[in-house]
Symmetry: C2
């Protein structure tokens, strides 16, 4: 077991939602929390001053990107990511698996759920995939043609060099188009890899096991039971969450029912407001996603109710609004530093002009949106008003 203490502080009276204090080597995280992604050791467009001002509790970095550039060996020389990034709060790293299965196909930026595009699936079907999976591990080629072989042991070794507080077991990530048969086979491989990760793990980093099993109840329950039977410090739900919201919620319920209460649960790669509410309601403690900063770069601004709602996905496109000609922030219901100081007009002007400051200001606002939402969710759980808050968000 690594350095991790998890204490449940409050439980919502009407749901499985809970707040907790997750103590890791570099600090304590109040949960439930949304973790911004610092893919290549930087949260895109934000400064570390920004992250501090935003009360960012924890960052998640991507092993896949960092093993390729600048390489784990260089980062190790700085005592790991904390020294390299000059960030002294908790850091998570993923195992690299997700990106191998998605970005190995050539897409180089991000960790969203949209990677199973038809094009890429066709490549895989035609055997032209740059990824080859064996029970030993995964061969993959990157754009420059160089071939890599990633195994559970190798992933743990790299993550130990990166030195995050909490690391993830190496798993195979399946997608909604995989058959039940393939998903079951892949799940068994993930289980054997989980054990190998555990055996390879030597440091005091907390190690999180990943639950697979796609959209099938028997597989998900089996995977959750197996992973829970191992001595992991926490659990993450990965792989296909089905094609509908109802399916996703069902899958979370199946899994959570098999997990012990006293360990933290991470729903991987989720960054949609609705999904965060549904996850928290079912007992999820951690979320991560690139949405706040990625959407910012595409000019999408997150907004709270009443401006934001389920239909507009709580955001609007900055270029779709007219200049107001008088001070109006990005969201008049937002309490962030950007909304206090700069007008939507100014930020729209910067965005239209491709000024880098636009990406910074919108990213700041968007990340505040998510972190503030999590603060309000934690508060509502402590007051057992979570469902009321959910209703206020029109969900």
């Amino acid at each position: 077991m690594g350095h991790l203490k998890f204490k449940i502080i409050a439980r919502d009276k009407h749901t499985k939602a809970r707040t907790g204090l997750l103590e890791l080597k570099h600090g304590i995280i109040k949960t439930p929390e949304f973790m911004p992604v610092a893919t290549k050791a930087s949260v895109k467009a934000l400064t570390f001053d920004d992250l501090i001002k935003l009360d960012t509790q924890v960052l998640i970095c991507n092993t896949y990107h960092l093993m390729l550039n600048p390489g784990a060996e260089l980062i190790e020389k700085y005592g790991g990511l904390h020294g390299f990034m000059h960030w002294d709060k908790p850091i998570l790293t993923d195992s690299g698996g997700f990106q191998v299965f998605s970005l190995g196909f050539g897409i180089e930026n991000g960790t969203n759920k949209l990677f199973f595009s038809e094009d890429k699936l066709n490549l895989r079907k035609k055997g032209q995939s740059k990824v080859k999976i064996t029970d030993d591990g995964v061969y993959f080629k990157v754009d420059d043609g160089k071939q890599y072989f990633l195994t559970p042991e190798k992933s743990i070794e790299i993550q130990e060099k990166l030195g995050a507080d909490m690391i993830l077991a190496f798993d195979e990530c399946t997608c909604p188009t995989n058959t039940k048969e393939y998903t079951a086979e892949s799940m068994e491989r993930t289980h054997s890899w989980a054990l190998r990760c555990m055996n390879a793990h030597k440091t005091d980093q907390a190690l999180v096991g990943i639950i697979q099993g796609g959209e099938w109840q028997d597989l998900r329950e089996k995977s959750a039971r197996y992973i829970a039977s191992l001595d992991f410090d926490g659990y993450a739900i990965g792989g296909s969450l089905g094609n509908t919201k109802d399916k996703m919620n069902q899958i979370i319920d199946w899994v959570i029912n098999q997990l012990p209460e006293e360990k933290p649960r991470h729903l991987l790669g989720i960054g949609v407001v609705e999904d965060i509410f549904e996850g928290v309601e079912r007992g999820i403690d951690l979320f991560d996603c690139v949405t706040p900063t990625r959407q910012a770069r595409f000019g999408y601004v997150y907004v709270r109710p009443p401006l934001g709602n389920k239909n507009n996905k709580y955001n609007y496109k900055l270029t779709s609004v007219e200049y107001a000609g008088e001070f109006m922030p990005l969201d008049s219901n937002c309490t962030c530093n950007v909304c206090a100081k700069w007008s939507r007009d100014y930020i729209k002007h910067l965005y239209k002009s491709s000024e880098l400051l636009a990406y910074n200001l919108i990213s700041y606002h968007n990340l505040h949106f998510f972190l503030q939402l999590m603060r309000e969710i934690r508060n509502s759980i402590e007051n057992s008003t979570f469902l009321q808050l959910k209703k206020e968000w029109e969900l």
Copy 2:
């Protein structure tokens, strides 16, 4: 006369260098000073927090860019640039003239001295230029084909809407390939425009007159005398400064000899270390240039002696250095916040990965380089050790 008080505080015993306090509506600037350029109402890649931490005293914005986008009318609704940018320290705007004569040809980013390319001169010769100069003003076309007519009165009107503390008279900017005959004719036009600017000027913004005359002593002296005879709040040296450093220094000397002691002097668009030293030595109080942030985006890092010298232009290319594998800042002689916290390795990694934070960190460091240099120059003038400092910089 606009709101401007200029008090000379100290004079170097061995040169014409002087320090001063330049009081404008939004604050007092210690001179000599280098002014970062916020072309489109943002200093590229830097946050306003960064600018405050860097002790930035004043910003200069470009009228040309802002009149096109988002338009002076919108900015006026925010009480001018101060309200629009949320910046409460002094701001300068230029007249728009420089960009009309350079960027009017289709180049859209920046204000350097390299715009007189053969291609553009050929266009002008062939009559295909998008710029047409008359005694009334200048017609120019922008990329979308829209035609504008900028006159001295129009430039002042726009700059009044932008509301900077200090504004520049509208002039015609000549280049080194112009004949003496053309430069003389153009200079007379600039003089008549200077008078028209003065007559059009209604606010308490400080108004600066621009001296032209190319590289000819009689023209430069005539222009300086004429502009000095008008009731401007300060003087700027514009146009061609010749093709050599010696010529530039000569031109500055010719001009300064004709100017009264008690008003501030601005050498337009200068951002080379050597030129700053030579300018200060001759009595220049203000400089501005995009170099710190532009060079940062191209991966050039400014360094002080001994790493920096005249031959390497006080900078190196970040991608040309190897990873060190141990903490080494961008410049081990630098006292900036970036050099205190982040390694050259980390910043190189970010730069290679096209992370926006790279542009931010290098821009911060580079701007600190220039502002710190000016602080040391001011200090040396007060101690009459300016020439010693210049020698330490191997100049």
